[in-house]
């Protein structure tokens, strides 16, 4: 009898997880960050329920500092598949003028973590799919596929519910919620190979192109709009770059690259000497910073 390939096995596992949530959880939502992992998750959700549409809404937490191409892509995708796409921003944060230049880690907390908590509470979602993978970071490597959050939406890493075989216990009390990571067992390479195999649309920022950039603290930061503050000693120049992960443009470092096709990206990924999270400025903090943020409710 035919054996499933590595990618087919990962695909079936993710779909099984999504169907379990749809069947057992009261009010699920799929968080959509517009990145490549979200694109894969969306693709899997479309497959999992076909010919039915995914039986839950999608939600994007918009910090208002995302790349313009990301927002365009989000709107195009929502329209193309007729998705119920909720866009939520922390209005209070916007009013206070919270931005990535002046507010450092408080910015991520207020515009991302707090915004996410507010949105989940506002809509009363009991389960939220996220695209996190265990190969991204050491505390993620320890997280269950079904990861529980208390009423304050905090994670207790020392007391995780046992997760046996694929018998997921989805029972929670009122006010608690579950973060579900169907891509837990995928690696960055799997994601790229799957994108190629399935011909999945992704934001063009992943492909190399000439873009206006400045160098800042060893990172290549793209000047995406005129809100970008240029320091006196910085020079905006054009470089062939692409992004390995996408987030808020002032906080996302690009890599110099000539990879303009998926094959070239995969070749680069296979021979990469650093992991993808190094291009996220917020991760370059003390060991354990990710775990601390997750305990506080970061996805």
């Amino acid at each position: 009898m035919k054996q499933l390939s590595h990618l087919q096995a990962l695909e079936a596992e993710a779909i099984y997880i999504m169907r379990e949530v749809a069947a057992e959880c009261e009010k699920p939502v799929m968080l959509y960050s517009i990145g490549k992992d979200s694109s894969v998750m969306l693709h899997l959700a479309l497959k999992a329920f076909y010919p039915e549409k995914p039986p839950f809404p999608f939600m994007h937490i918009d910090t208002t500092w995302k790349f313009r191409e990301m927002i365009q892509f989000r709107d195009d995708v929502a329209k193309k598949y007729g998705l119920d796409m909720i866009v939520y921003s922390n209005e209070e944060g916007i009013k206070q003028g919270i931005n990535p230049f002046d507010h450092g880690s408080a910015y991520t907390d207020i515009m991302k973590t707090q915004a996410l908590k507010q949105a989940l509470t506002k809509y009363g979602f009991t389960a939220a799919f996220g695209g996190g993978r265990r190969d991204e970071e050491k505390s993620r490597a320890k997280e269950r596929i079904f990861s529980f959050r208390n009423a304050e939406q905090a994670w207790d890493p020392k007391n995780q519910r046992p997760e046996m075989w694929k018998l997921y216990n989805t029972r929670i009390f009122k006010g608690e919620s579950i973060r579900v990571f169907p891509l837990s067992n995928w690696t960055e390479k799997d994601i790229w190979q799957y994108i190629r195999q399935e011909n999945i649309d992704i934001v063009p920022l992943y492909f190399a192109a000439e873009r206006p950039v400045v160098e800042r603290d060893g990172n290549i930061i793209m000047v995406d709009d005129d809100r970008m503050r240029i320091m006196p000693d910085e020079k905006v120049e054009k470089k062939m770059i692409r992004f390995r992960t996408l987030g808020c443009y002032p906080l996302t470092g690009g890599v110099e690259s000539n990879a303009t096709t998926l094959d070239e990206i995969i070749d680069e990924t296979l021979s990469a000497v650093s992991s993808e999270r190094t291009s996220r400025v917020i991760d370059n903090e003390a060991a354990g910073s990710m775990e601390r943020r997750k305990r506080e409710g970061y996805f």
Partner: protein
């Protein structure tokens, strides 16, 4: 096409599990430069005197790094030219056994580490047992720290012989032993230069080559239904992942537990319409006719599964609170979720020797054979036949905790009433169901001492704590059961006797009984104690003085008694005999009701928990 091997590393604390995996990744050049740099930086501040501490690659939680131990499973992903791997590095401490079991439930193979200088330990035996319980069929014993025993062949052979004896009962499909040194790197990815006497494979090359594919596949077809999809009136698809065999368009299938048949009209492998699908694939199946199919049903072909309510299972208890016989849990098996009761613990399994140990309770990290009864018929199989249909979890209905995981050993032939007859519903079982110790809390004291007030307040408190209670006092007994009795002495004795008998019945029913009677005579209380049972009778002396009671005189009874209007009034015209050895004494004078209740609750808890 590369195959995927899911494996775990386990073994006792400090056997070097994390170090082994860390070293494997490091040697095989499977780390990114930034991870390697972080590792070198972390090692400098670590305890390993500046040498590279490979375990830091895996111990990702802050608490783990601080304490230098592994608390939870870490999953690592790596690929060599021959194979893709997912490795779950599991904790060695007994306390975190359930996290080790989480890793084992996910794996096809276990690498069990043994410290060469210590040999086979209890934890080695425990982990081997749990690997077998969770369904792992392939094991590798890495005899680690060979550098500490001068790479001696003799020591290695001794340990291998112990392992052979230990594993006899399990019948693993494959078993391999390798002498290694995780810190130095012998036989991890490169053959050891100092152990020329070892002619076998290195650990990595063994893992690259071993075939773990399931050869027990007996054909047929099994699809547990996860979800019914009805986007519109024309389409009704049944979604799930095929667990056994394969299915073709046009096949006739049977749907359990309803026992109805239909023909497969179409199969969607996700968005693609296909004519056949195989084990592991996530499909949507349409049938040719409208039959009753919902989540939890199982679609089968040419496979015989069990459809019943009761089975015998092997349980691994994972909850901090103990297993309570007779308590209601949710059982999840496949896509079915039903209320279920663990009827009895047949025996515990000693992790070390495998011997049967008689037990009435099951605590965290213990293994036992139990009989389980579900509220509805479920579809299942013996774990050894079909892993996916024979594994289950128990969920605590109050805390939502995953309390246990288990595997089905065999169905219980005698269904329903028959077996319940055989297993009498005892006082113990009823009490366990209510999770409490049934006692009669007997309050004695003068009229006006505060007995009724206390009894009522106590009942509210106990009720709020989820206890099952009943109050017996003059009001509800004299009106009905004892309305034929007067206040003459023989009737007062009969009154107390009847109250004691009824209290005993209520205790048998599992209830906590609170009584409020003056019961002034030692001999009456002694006979009540005899009826109810020495162990179940808690005598509470409400020692409020006669002066205080007369001062309160809520019902005006003392006044009447003094005026000679009430004959035989305890304390005035008839004696009140103080208890000789009451378990609890309370004087309500000068205390608020809340204070008295607080004190009594504290005392009573010692008896009812």
């Amino acid at each position: 096409m590369q195959s995927l091997l899911k494996f775990i590393t386990c073994g006792s604390v400090d056997d070097g599990k994390s170090t082994l995996i860390g070293h494997m990744l490091y040697d095989a050049k499977l780390l990114f430069a930034d991870q390697e740099r972080a590792l070198e930086l972390d090692s400098k501040v670590g305890s390993n005197s500046g040498g590279i501490d490979y375990s830091l690659l895996l111990d990702g939680l802050m608490a783990e790094r601080e304490q230098g131990i592994t608390i939870d499973v870490a999953y690592r992903y790596f690929t060599t030219e021959k194979r893709s791997f997912i490795v779950a590095d599991t904790p060695g401490h007994e306390e975190y056994t359930r996290n080790m079991a989480v890793g084992a439930s996910f794996a096809d193979l276990a690498v069990i580490l043994v410290d060469a200088s210590k040999g086979v330990l209890i934890q080695t035996r425990r982990h081997t047992r749990i690997c077998a319980l969770m369904g792992i069929r392939h094991v590798v014993y890495a005899i680690n720290k060979m550098d500490l025993v001068d790479y001696e062949k003799y020591t290695y052979n001794q340990i291998v012989s112990d392992i052979k004896t230990m594993t006899e009962e399990y019948n693993f499909e494959s078993l391999y032993t390798i002498p290694v040194s995780a810190t130095v790197g012998d036989n991890i990815t490169n053959p050891s230069k100092v152990m020329g006497w070892y002619k076998g494979k290195t650990l990595l090359s063994y893992l690259e080559d071993i075939d773990v594919s399931d050869k027990s596949d007996q054909g047929g077809f099994v699809l547990p239904i996860q979800r019914v999809s009805r986007p519109d009136r024309t389409f009704r698809g049944f979604q799930g992942q095929i667990e056994v065999g394969e299915i073709h368009e046009g096949d006739e299938v049977l749907v359990l537990p309803n026992d109805t048949t239909a023909e497969v009209k179409s199969i969607h492998n996700m968005t693609e319409k296909v004519t056949e699908a195989v084990r592991g694939e996530a499909v949507t199946v349409e049938l040719d006719r409208e039959i009753d199919v919902s989540r939890g049903c199982v679609m089968v072909k040419d496979v015989s599964l069990h459809v019943s309510k009761m089975f015998t299972a092997k349980l691994l208890w994972m909850d901090d609170s103990k297993l309570v016989e007779g308590k209601n849990y949710y059982l999840k098996i496949g896509t079915q979720l039903v209320p279920a009761v663990v009827m009895n613990i047949k025996h515990k399994v000693d992790v070390n020797t495998g011997q049967k140990v008689k037990a009435e309770r099951l605590f965290k990290n213990e293994i036992a054979i139990c009989d389980i009864s579900c509220s509805d018929k479920i579809v299942y199989d013996i774990f050894a036949n079909h892993k996916e249909l024979g594994s289950f979890i128990l969920i605590d209905r109050i805390t939502n905790m995953t309390s246990a995981c288990g595997v089905v050993e065999h169905p219980l032939r005698r269904e329903g009433n028959l077996t319940w007859h055989e297993m009498d519903i005892t006082r113990d079982l009823r009490a366990k169901q209510k999770d409490q110790q049934p006692k009669t809390i007997w309050l004695t004291g003068l009229s006006g001492a505060g007995k009724s007030t206390l009894v009522n307040a106590l009942e509210k408190r106990l009720f709020a704590e989820g206890k099952h209670t009943m109050v017996m006092d003059g009001d509800n007994v004299r009106m009905g059961l004892n309305k034929d009795l007067t206040f003459k002495e023989s009737d007062r004795i009969e009154n107390i006797r009847r109250v004691a008998e009824v209290s005993k019945l209520m205790n048998d029913a599992g209830l906590i009984v609170l009584t409020s009677f003056i019961s002034p005579f030692v001999r009456d209380r002694r006979s009540a104690r005899e009826i109810i049972g020495e162990d179940n009778f808690v005598e509470v002396y409400v020692a409020t003085s006669i002066e205080e009671c007369e001062k309160r005189d809520v019902k005006g009874l003392y006044k009447k008694a003094r005026a000679g209007e009430i004959p035989n009034f305890s304390g005035i015209t008839s004696p009140y005999e103080k208890p000789e050895n009451p378990q609890i004494v309370i004087d309500t004078a000068g205390q608020t009701v809340e204070e008295s209740v607080e004190y009594l609750m504290k005392e009573i808890r010692k008896f009812i928990q």
